[in-house]
Point group: D3
Chain length 240, copies 6
C-alpha cells in the first residue's frame, strides 16, 4: 500500500520530518511518500496561506506520477481536504480530524496544543465542521511560529509543555493532540509533564488511512464529494 | 464609495448580472465594480472549484489597480472569505452570510434555495461556520446547474419556485434566500408563489458593506484575520 | 426615509443621545425620530422593567402620528421586538441583534460589554433566541447602572474599558459591542485600549434598517409575525 | 398552601376551567385561586397579545389582596415568567416548562400539540430559553384557535388527536404535552388514540409548585431575578 | 403511596440517611422505603461501580416483595435509570435529573457540586443525555470521596462550601445542586455561604415522584422503555 | 497482537460470526479472540439487557485467562464501554463509535441502519455521548429483531436495504453504518442498492484498535477512566 503524505507548506525539511513520523506508525508493507507543494508559504499560519496550500496540495497530488492508495493532508487546521476528496477516488485523511477522532477513544475530553495563537480559530473551525468539537476541551497555542519549532526547539518545547499542562489542569483535557509535528522529543516531554496520552496527527492519520484501505472503503461519491462535473476550468492544471 | 463585487466563476456575463444586481441596491454615490477572476471554473459547483475560486478571487482583488472601500464575495456557499479578510484592510462581505443575516431580521426561520444538490452541504457548512445556521429551516436545491439558469431559464425558475414552496410549507421557512443570482424575474415569481420576503445575497451584501464603511468599521486585525506574517511565499502573486 | 428610534426607558435625555447617535450613521435623506415611551422605568435593568418597556414601546409606536419606514428598538437585551413586528408592516430592528450581526462581519468572535451584571442573562437570552450567540465570546458587565453612565461618566468609562480588555485578552473577542449608548468618548477609549473594532448597536441598527427599506424588504407575515387576529382586547390601546 | 393560577387571557370561563384542572392535581390542603387579568386579549395567540398578557398578569398578581405561596402562569408559550420572578418572593412556575420537565420523566422524546400554527414558534422559543428543547420531538398545531376549542369542541378534539398521532408516528414522541387547556375529554381521546402518557401543563405546574413550596425553595435573588432596583417607574402600578 | 428509594451503594447507613432525607420532603401519607442493593461497591465513584450498581438496583427493586407506586434512584450521575423504566410500570425518578429540573425553576443557571473529581464527567454525561445541561453553569468537585463525607465531615463541608462559592462567583450559578447526600448541616452552610437556593436531589425526586403518581402518569411504553421482549436471559434473576 | 472481541449477548453463534468479521479486517499477525458472556440475554435489544450485558462483558473480560492488547465491545448502541476502560490498561473500542468515526472520513453525513426500532434511541444516545452525532443524518430501524437476522435472513436483508435507501434519499446520508452484524451478503446488497460506502462496526473497530496499539496509545488514566479506587465491592467478581 502506498500513502501520499502531503505537507501543506513548501519547506522540504518539514516534509521529511512528517514522512518520517508517518513511517513510524505505518504497517510493514506500507510505503509512505512525502509530497511538498511546488508553491505556497514556507509555513502555514493563517487563512490566506492555508487556502493557497489547499490548491497547492491539490496541484501536487493530482500531478503525482504513480499509483497510490490513500492521501494524508498533513497540516493542522488547514483548508482543502474536501477538494481532494472530490478529485480522488482513494481515501483522504486530514490530520486534524485523525488526531481528534483518535483522542476520543482515549479520554473523555481532549485538547489541541498548537503553535501560533492566530491558527487557533482555524483549528476550532475545522473541528466544528468535522463534527469532532463537542469533546474538545480547548485549543491552545504556545505563541511560537511553525518555523521556530525548528530554530529554537528548546524554548518551543517548553512553551508547548506549559500549555499542555494548562489544558489538563484547567480545561480538564485527558488527552493532548499536538498540533505541530516533526519533533520526536516534544511528545515525550509533554507526556512526562502531563501524564496523559499524546496523539500525533500524522501517525493517527496513517492508521486511519491504512484501516480504510484495508476495509476497501473510500470517499462516497453520491453527493458532497462527487467528482467535479466536466466543465471549462481556465488555468487548471496550473502551467508554471 | 467604491465596492468591488467579485464573481467566483470566470463567466463574464455572470459578473455583469451580479454587478447589475448590486447596483440596484447601492446608495447614490456608491460605485460598483464587477470583478471576474482570471482563472477557475466557468461555474462553481463543488469544493475543488470553490477552493480554486477562493485563490482566484484573492488573486483578482489583490491585483486590482485602484482604491476601494469594501469587497463582496459573490458566490453562494464558497470558500475564501477569511483569506480576503487577512489580505485586506477594508471590510469583506460574503453573500451567503449577508443573505442569512438579512433574512433573520424578517422572519423566525429562513431557507436557502439553490441550484445543484451537491452544493447544499457547502452552503450548510458555511452557515454553520458563520454561526448563522440555527434559524435556517433548510437548504434546498432545484437540481439544476448554475449555467442552466441562463440556458433554460423557464425550467430553472419553475424548479426553484417549487423548492421555495416546499421550504415554506414543509420546513416552515418565513423568508427565502435565493442562492443563485442574475435573474430578475426569479425573485418576483418566488415571491408570488410563496408570499414571503425574498432575499438576494448580492443586494443584501451591498447594504451590509455600505453600512460598515459608513460606520468606519473594518475587519479586526488582532487575531484570526491579522495580516499574514512576512514570509517566503513561492509562486505568489501568480505569474501567468 | 423616516426611521423611528424608540428608547426603552422614559428618560428623555437618553432618547436624545440615542437619536443623535442614530443620526451619525444615517444616510443623507434619512430622518431619525426619537421616541420616548410615556410610561415605564427611567432605566431598564431587568425583566419586569423590560416587559413593561416592551408594551410601552408598542404603545408609543402605534400611537405615533405620522408615516415611517422602519422602527429601531434601542434597548440592549430587551423584550418586545416580536410584538412590534406583528403590529407593524415596516421592518423592526433590535439593537442587540444589529450589533451582533454587524460584529460577526468583523471578527471571528465578539463580546458584548454592558452595564449592570443582572442584565447579562437578558442579553444572552436575546442572542440565543436570535440565533446570534454561537460566535459570542462573552457578555460582560461593568457593574454600573445605566444612569451612572450619565452621573459619573469617568468611572463608568474606566469600568467598561477594563471589561472590554478582559473580553479581548481572556475570552478572545475580536470585536466589542457596547451594550449601552449615549457616550461618544466611550467608544474611542475602548478602541484605544483594545485595538479592536467597536460596534454601537444604534448605529448598526440604522444601517440595517436603511438597507432593508432600500431593498423593499419587510417582516414576513406568513406565520410568527402575522398581524394579530381581530379579537376583543380589553384596555388596549391604553387610555391614560 | 395557596397557589395563584393566572390565566393569560381575559376570558373568565377559561380561568375557571384552568383552576378546575389545577384543583384536580392539588394535594389536600392546597387552595387554588384562579386569576383573570383585567386587561388584554380574550385569547392569547401571538407575541403582541402575549407581551400584553405578561404585563397584565404582573398587574393582576401584584395587586392580589392576600397571601399566597406560589404562582402558576397558565399560558402556553407565553412571555412574562421572568418578570414575575423578579417581583415576587414565592416560586413562579410556567406551564410550558412544567409540562416539558414532567414529560421528560416519562419518555425519551416528547411533543407539544397546540392550537394555532402561529403560536408554534413562541412555544419553541420558550422551550429553547428554558433549556428544555433538546428532547422535544416537535411542536405541532391543530390549526384551530383557542376559543374554537370552546365553540366547536368536537372538531377541535379531532384535529388535536390527528396531530398527536403524527407526533408519535412520525416524530417519535413518546409523550404528548397538550398546549391548550380546559377540556377534560381531550386528554382521554388523545391517550386512547396514541397510547402514550398525556401531560397537562396546568396540573404538572401544580405538582411542581407544591413541591417547591414543600421544600422551602424559591427563586434565587442573586442575579437574574433579583428584586428590581428602586427607581422611578412612570404609570406603574397601572391606574385605570 | 409507597416510594422505593434505592441507594446505589451497599452502605446501609447511607441508605438510612437517604431515606430520612426523602421523608423530610414527602407528603403526609407517603411511605418511603429505603433499598440497599445486595451487591456492589460501598460507595459509587466511577463507571465500573456505577454499572454494577445499575444492575444491583434492578436486582433489588425487582426482587422487592410488596407493592410500590414509584422508584427513586438515589445516586448522583449514575447509570441505570433507563433499565428500571423498562422493567417497571411505575414512574422512575433519577435524583440527578430531579435536582436539575428543580433548580431550573429557581434560577437562570445552576451548578452541581459533588465529591470526587472523577465523577464530574459522569454527572455531565447524565445531564447531557437527560437534555438538562444547557442551563448547567458547571459541575464542580470538592475532591473528597463519598465516605469521607461521613468520616471527616467538617473538612468535607468546608471543601464543598468553597466550590459552591466558586460556582456562584465565577460560573454565575444562581442555584446549587448538592451532588452528595446525607448531611443536614451541609445544606445550611452552603446556603449561608452563597445566598442561593440549595437543591437536594433526593428531596426533589420525592416531590417529582409524588406529582407523577398523583397525576396518574407513568413511563411511556411505546418505544424506548417498552417492557423487554420475552427471551432467554441466562443467570437472571441472579441466584446468589 | 491479540484483540478480544466481546459479543454483548450470550448467543455463541453470534460471537463466531462477529469474530469472523473481525478477522476479515485484521492485519497479519493479529489474533482475534471471540468472547461470549456467561450470563445475559441471547440478544440485546433494550436498556435492561444492555446494562446486564455491560456487566457481563466486564465479567468475561476481567476473567479472561491470558494476555491481550485491546478489547472491542461488539454491540451496537450498548452500555458499558466506560466501565471496561476503567478496569483495563489496554484500549477499549466500541463498535458504534468505530463505525461512526470511520463513516465520517467517507462522507458529509452518515446514517445508521439497525434492527429493532426500540434500540434507535440507545444508539442515538451513545452517539450523542460520544460526540459523534452532529454528522449523523439518521438512525433508522428495519423493525426486525436481532435473531430474526439469522432465522429469516432474506426478509431481514430486504427491510434493511429499504431503510438504507431511505437514509440516502431522504436523510441525505452519504455513508451507511450497519448496526447489526454477522451477515456477509447484507453489506453487498445495501451497497448495490444505495451506491454508498457501507461501514461494518466490527471491522472498523479492529482497524481502530490495531492503530491504537501500534501507536502505543491507551486509555488516559488521569480522570474519568482512572482505575477504580480500592474499596469493598460485595459480590464481585461474580461467584456463580
Amino acid at each position: 500500500m502506498r500513502i501520499l503524505v502531503a505537507n501543506v507548506n513548501t519547506t522540504a525539511s518539514m516534509t521529511d520530518a512528517i514522512a518520517e513520523s508517518a513511517r513510524s506508525a505505518a504497517s510493514p508493507g506500507t510505503e509512505i511518500v512525502g509530497i511538498t507543494p511546488r508553491f505556497g508559504a514556507d509555513s502555514c499560519e493563517g487563512n490566506f496561506e492555508s487556502y493557497l496550500a489547499a490548491i497547492a496540495v491539490m496541484d501536487a497530488i493530482t500531478s503525482y506520477d504513480g499509483e497510490f492508495d490513500a492521501v494524508i493532508q498533513a497540516g493542522y487546521g488547514e483548508h482543502g481536504r474536501e477538494g481532494l476528496q472530490e478529485l480522488l477516488d482513494v481515501p483522504v485523511v486530514d490530520i486534524t480530524e485523525a488526531a481528534a477522532s483518535t483522542a476520543m477513544y482515549l479520554g473523555h475530553k481532549y485538547s489541541v496544543v498548537t503553535t501560533l495563537d492566530r491558527t487557533v480559530p482555524l483549528i476550532e473551525d475545522r473541528l466544528k465542521l468535522a463534527g469532532l468539537d463537542s469533546r474538545c476541551a480547548s485549543v491552545r497555542a504556545s505563541g511560537l511560529g511553525v518555523l521556530e519549532l525548528e530554530s529554537d526547539p528548546e524554548r518551543a518545547v517548553e512553551a508547548i509543555v506549559a500549555q499542555s499542562r494548562e489544558a489538563v489542569d484547567r480545561d480538564h483535557a485527558e488527552v493532548i493532540c499536538l498540533g505541530c509535528g516533526g519533533m520526536a522529543e516534544l511528545e515525550d516531554k509533554v507526556k512526562a509533564a502531563t501524564g496523559v496520552p499524546i496523539v500525533d496527527g500524522v501517525r493517527a492519520a496513517v492508521t486511519v488511512a491504512e484501516g480504510l484501505v484495508r476495509m476497501g472503503l473510500s470517499t462516497s461519491k453520491v453527493r458532497t464529494y462527487a467528482t467535479p462535473r466536466q466543465k471549462k476550468v481556465i488555468g487548471w492544471p496550473f502551467q508554471f
